[in-house]
Amino acid sequence: MTSRSYLIVGHGGQGVLDLGNFLSYDAMLHGERTAYTPSYGPETRGGKVRCYVVTSDEEIDSPIVDEIDVLVAMNNPSMDFEKVVKPKGLLLMNQSLIDRVPTRRDLQVIGIPATDIADKMKDQGFALSDTRVLQNSVAYGATLATLGKPFDKEEVRAVLEHVYQGSKSRFIPANLEAARAGYEFVAERQGLKFAECGCD
């Protein structure tokens, strides 16, 4: 059985739950089983938000697991969850908002300035007043690259279409570009050693 567990943590407005949905849909579209568990405070903005995603090629027993394969940390407080990552697991850090340094030495750490990349997209003419909201799609693309998955534009679009339906579908082109930017950022740097990613 092959399974993978993700924990995505950030604050409200960072699109943490949508990012969990991207990963869940991505798995389902690839024929895997998946479970997505949101966990958030009562406020829709500004609170501490996290979600768990489990993917597997078999039926999933527990939708949450004791240890995480991939931690996507979107802000400083989310680094607290470093301790639940499996030995030799993966830590994807949003360097734009994290100045904390990983304490674990056994993890594969990838840093990406997801928020900055999203901010810089404001000049690309998307119908968005604030492109910062794209930081989750940047992180999504980065996750795909980190896991060595190919970037298939149509598949990513299909995922985005599942999550952004109805009036939200107008966000799809911008998110698709953001995912590509995140993917390319990591892909160009794949194989970087821990010290080289600027985390130390």
Binding site: M28, A35, Y36, P38, D61, S62
Partner: protein
Amino acid sequence: MNGRVLLKGNEAIAYGALEAGLNAYFAYPITPSTETPETLAKEFGNSKYPDFKVFLQAASELEAINMTLGAASTGDLAMTATSSPGFSLKQEGISYAVGMEVPFVIVDVNRGGPGLGNLGVEQSDYLQATRGGGHGGYKLIVLAPNSVQEMLSFPKLAFDLAFKYRNPVLILSDAFLGQLKEDIAPNQSANGHNYDISWATLGMKNGQRHVLNSLHLESDSQEKHERHLYQKYVQMRNEVRFEKMDTDDADIVLVSYGITSRICKSAVKTGRENGLRIGLFRPITLNPFPYSQLSILANQGKKLLVVELNTGEMVEDVMLAANGTTRVEQMNRLGGNVPTVADILAKCKEMI
């Protein structure tokens, strides 16, 4: 994607009800149950669901349950969903419905604690759900799903059982299952239904008068009515449902329902990989509770560990089933916390 869809538990309940032929839904918003009415509001008018003729947001939980009672009195398939504080408010209407023998489906998405509590998962409505919950000593059939797939399929089962016994049926979900998203296989197209509604208040067809009433002022009349209801509770015991996993050679059997039974499944597998002979017994109907099936395991000397998200509720039923023949232990988490596989295995090691 093999025709699979990714749905949230609360959404799956809505689609399951629609596919069962839901006619009327009465809503009152309460977290974490609200995706069910939101989904139904969105699907109202969809030509795929021609039977779905009423969606109405009430001004209170009391209105919502009594609208459900009214719609169900006509023999229509009526449903309402809520979460713990709202479930308390609905008890009045549920008690009346049992007394009047009016079938409908209620969903309780169990959240944390007494009072306003919190929005986290708990299983602390267990006793309220299985002991009737309102006044007057009655029983509901209580179905406890543990996956989004079951959230989709249980509404049909719930309506079948409700009309079979002319008694409300409760789907006891929880904050975790309600918010959980899983990929599921859509139900096979619904076969429709052919429930007996000769009792329904649809006007005096053929001169036959229908009175749905829970009032019996004469003692003998009230006793007769309650004995009649009791006989139905006895018959409902035939509907007992449960699931067993690796119990045959187990030294310890975990007893758990709902979301915690999923964590227990992982614990059984991980435990066995580490040489612990653990099994799982999962009640699917919490009422009727599978007492006799569980007592067989108890009589074999297997130790029972009840894993639940309350301060000890189902453990009372497990102890009744064990009847002193074996050791019954419990472990629990509260307030939105859930036990980890490691917690469960540590407790098992302690018990051996």
